[in-house]
């Protein structure tokens, strides 16, 4: 860490008080009626020695850190990385910085990281909650912390959140496959019962029921390693050869699924039509390109930051806000009409 001059060093050097220096540094020179001469002299000296304010001291004194804690599931998932990048931009414009952490959807790690955020006195929390952390969220809320959930939420807790319409998106995707003439449509998902996964499952089921089609649901264990998951998907396809379409519940499932399809040399879409939730560069450039349910990343990021900063800056007066954004079905080659 830099051995920086402090305000009091500057004051001493210039034979004035720290109060004066502080006022000038904070642009309150005019308001506090400090002479132009003194102001300029101080500013000049400050520039020469390269003074940099110690934000730690400032935060401690003011009770605000201008730091937001962002807990995502996995920063190396492009969906979360892009949302994080977009939020960072917006937050920076408002003078806030972001602490990112990845929870890997692990409950223990999530609890630990929330504690770290508390210790660091973040002004607000943006959390992609893992399962079973309701009590931690409640306790944050009870202590008047500013919290907004993202990607999934807890219906039993009154919080602000921003999520995509998972059920609607899944319905749209499944209906699209049916409209294209597919009848034996599988759904590949995880064992998670979190709202986003439950919603996607519900959308799938609803669409199928409406047309009296049979459901083929394959769940994989997200905690298994890559190979094991791909293996699971392979054997699912191998033992269900009458399937003519598959809908993957997330982009990482979609990617693993494509890997499985590639290994089995199944042809898309002639032998199997494919749709995935969440868009990805890979889906756009894959041959054939893959139809996807895209989440409006910029819009979600803006809502998240705006609502949270409002909460922080306007205090506890505001009601919690729940935002459900609409996904967009991007139709590509992998779901062209059944021959």
């Amino acid at each position: 860490m830099r051995k920086q001059p402090s305000i009091s060093d500057i004051a001493k050097k210039l034979n004035i008080s720290v109060t004066t220096v502080s006022f000038i540094l904070n642009g309150k020179a005019e308001e506090k009626r400090i002479s132009k001469t003194l102001t300029n002299k101080v500013l000049k000296y400050v520039g020469e020695v390269g003074y940099v304010a110690n934000h730690l001291a400032k935060s401690l004194r003011m009770g605000k850190t201008h730091i937001l804690g962002l807990l995502v599931e996995d920063i190396s998932n492009p969906f979360f990385a892009r949302v994080a990048g977009a939020m960072e931009d917006i937050a920076n414009k408002h003078g806030y910085r972001i602490f990112y952490c990845s929870s890997n959807n692990d409950t223990a790690k999530t609890k630990e990281l929330i504690k770290v955020f508390e210790e660091r006195q973040v002004d607000g929390y943006i959390i992609t909650p893992a399962e079973n952390i309701q009590d931690n969220i409640r306790s944050l809320l009870a202590n008047k912390n500013k919290v907004i959930l993202f990607d999934r939420f807890f219906p039993e807790i009154d919080t602000s959140y921003v999520v995509v319409d998972n059920e609607g998106g899944a319905y749209l995707a499944t209906k699209h496959l049916m409209d294209q003439g597919y009848k034996n449509i599988a759904f590949v998902t995880t064992y998670s019962s979190q709202t986003q996964m439950a919603g996607r499952l519900k959308g799938y089921e609803k669409a199928l029921k409406k047309n009296n089609l049979e459901q083929y649901i394959k769940r994989v264990d997200f905690n298994e390693n890559n190979e094991a998951i791909i293996g699971e998907i392979c054997s699912f396809f191998s033992s269900n050869t009458h399937l003519d379409a598959v809908f993957f519940a997330t982009n990482y499932l979609g990617i693993k699924g494509l890997e499985a399809i590639k290994r089995l040399r199944i042809r898309i879409p002639t032998e199997l039509a494919v749709v995935s939730f969440d868009d990805h560069d890979l889906f756009r450039l894959h041959s054939p390109s893959i139809t996807a349910v895209a989440q409006p990343i910029q819009k979600m990021s803006e809502s998240l930051i705006t609502i949270l900063l409002d909460k922080i800056e306007k205090g506890g007066l505001l009601q919690n806000q729940q935002v459900v954004v609409s996904p967009e079905l991007i139709i590509r080659e992998s779901s062209s009409a059944k021959a």
Copy 2:
């Protein structure tokens, strides 16, 4: 922010001094010979009220924040996202947190973010430097800050850094194309003269010169929008139809290049063999799969954190360390032997 009990609140409540509470909280009870009875009483009470230490005050007092500032080019680029994720894991294990920021390889933004890191009193800096920020790096160093550069460096400044052997990787990739029988090999890169790009160019040139093959270098402006870059690449291919192979200097160029190739309906590898620097999920799953020069992400992340933490914890005694890791050529379908 939470209205938490402070150490002095606890001391007051329990009718003991803050010193005692602080010692107990920091596990120094035994060392300071505080009675087991008192220790347990304090620990019990602390647990009940849910005390969380204020790290801000701790940092201010101790002169250490246990925060690392990480400035990457772009957090939504999977290469940087994966490195960041790996570093986060390692740093957390050592009790450090990371502030990420994306510079977008912009000089002004980089300068601004370095200043933010200074204000936040980070204990160490991990920087993917943009061009023309030598003076800022020098000034950080002059002020005894702990700094390590990453992905690229400044030969004229004595710093620690971790980079991949760019020249060697590019040489390997180009030689591989030649070995497979390709003769008119293009290199698509940016206008950047940073070390990583210069190294890749040099590796390409060296390999071609050795076999007396002609160079076809296409530079694109990274600041242009996506469409413009793809358009540039399209017209480059269209007006150089004798090319039989192309080597993309980065993964984002590779992705844009594949988009261009797809639009032009050029067949890989029969009409054009393809290799890209940096691996990517997309390259693995593309049809045909794309040969890539992969950087050893885990290894680089470990070196970066280890060297930086050593510097921080062992003070200025250590020499700067320069680590150059070897890339790995992952051969896939896009560069199979020329027919």
